[in-house]
Symmetry: C2
Subunit: 152 residues, 2 copies
């Protein structure tokens, strides 16, 4: 793994610049390390017709760490990610600010990069929990990504 | 089925009021009839890090017709919907404005309402295609909803 360090505030700004929806829902990157990121989102401004956080905002909070984790774990000059499929299950109404953690071990990262180096692409999945302020899991999302090498 | 008629423009405004994300992505309700709705979304303003429509915007476009169809097909004084789970598969990059149609037959609607009347709730699913300006299916989403009766 690289010894690179990351500034969560700068990553938040970069996320808002590249995806306007991220700015709209006011996602923040709270932790950004190789192999581990934590993002959060306020309830305020993100509610639906029944006053809980809207499904599309929860979906987006579950998807975005894929890009953040990618940027802290892989070389973005060499690789980029796309999302191929995502399944999100809503367990409880989200009635407070929420957060999500996504992780990847150095061994997992090395295996994904090796496959992309060999084949130009590599499929991988992450399952994340969205938790509310009390620690309750309000949604579980399984995200299927594909790493691609630039130019392949 | 009811003989009610619906003004797509008013439904667009109502959607934007109840879900700020719908306003942000500039969803419009284009067709609103009992048993059939069509919604669309511009590419502009909804792109990601590679210049195609962001996954979270596509997800939201796929989810919102559930509420619109509900409002044109069922009695909102008696019932309301929640989304329990959603699986979206991205088939092609979305490089133009996109739209989605969601339908329900009178027989399906009657069966769902009858179950909710009997049990206070009824699960049902809709699978929708998001199509681009050329008619290409860019994403397929299966949405699992639950109808509930108010007060149950």
């Amino acid at each position: 793994m690289s010894e690179r360090t990351f500034d969560p505030e700068r990553l938040t700004e970069a996320t808002h610049r590249s995806v306007s929806m991220a700015a709209h829902i006011r996602v923040t990157v709270d932790v950004a390390e190789p192999g581990r990121v934590v993002l959060s989102m306020p309830k305020e401004g993100n509610t639906n017709h029944i006053g809980t956080i809207y499904a599309g905002a929860l979906y987006t909070l579950a998807e975005l760490p894929g890009g953040t984790l990618f940027s802290t774990t892989f070389d973005p000059q060499r690789y980029y990610p796309i999302v191929k499929e995502q399944n999100i299950r809503f367990r409880r109404p989200a009635t407070s600010d929420v957060s999500v953690e996504m992780t990847m071990t150095p061994e997992e990262a090395a295996a994904i990069a090796a496959e992309a180096d060999a084949n130009g692409k590599a499929d991988y999945s992450r399952t994340v929990d969205i938790v509310d302020a009390a620690g309750t899991v309000v949604a579980i999302s399984t995200n299927h990504y594909q790493m691609r090498t630039h130019g392949s």
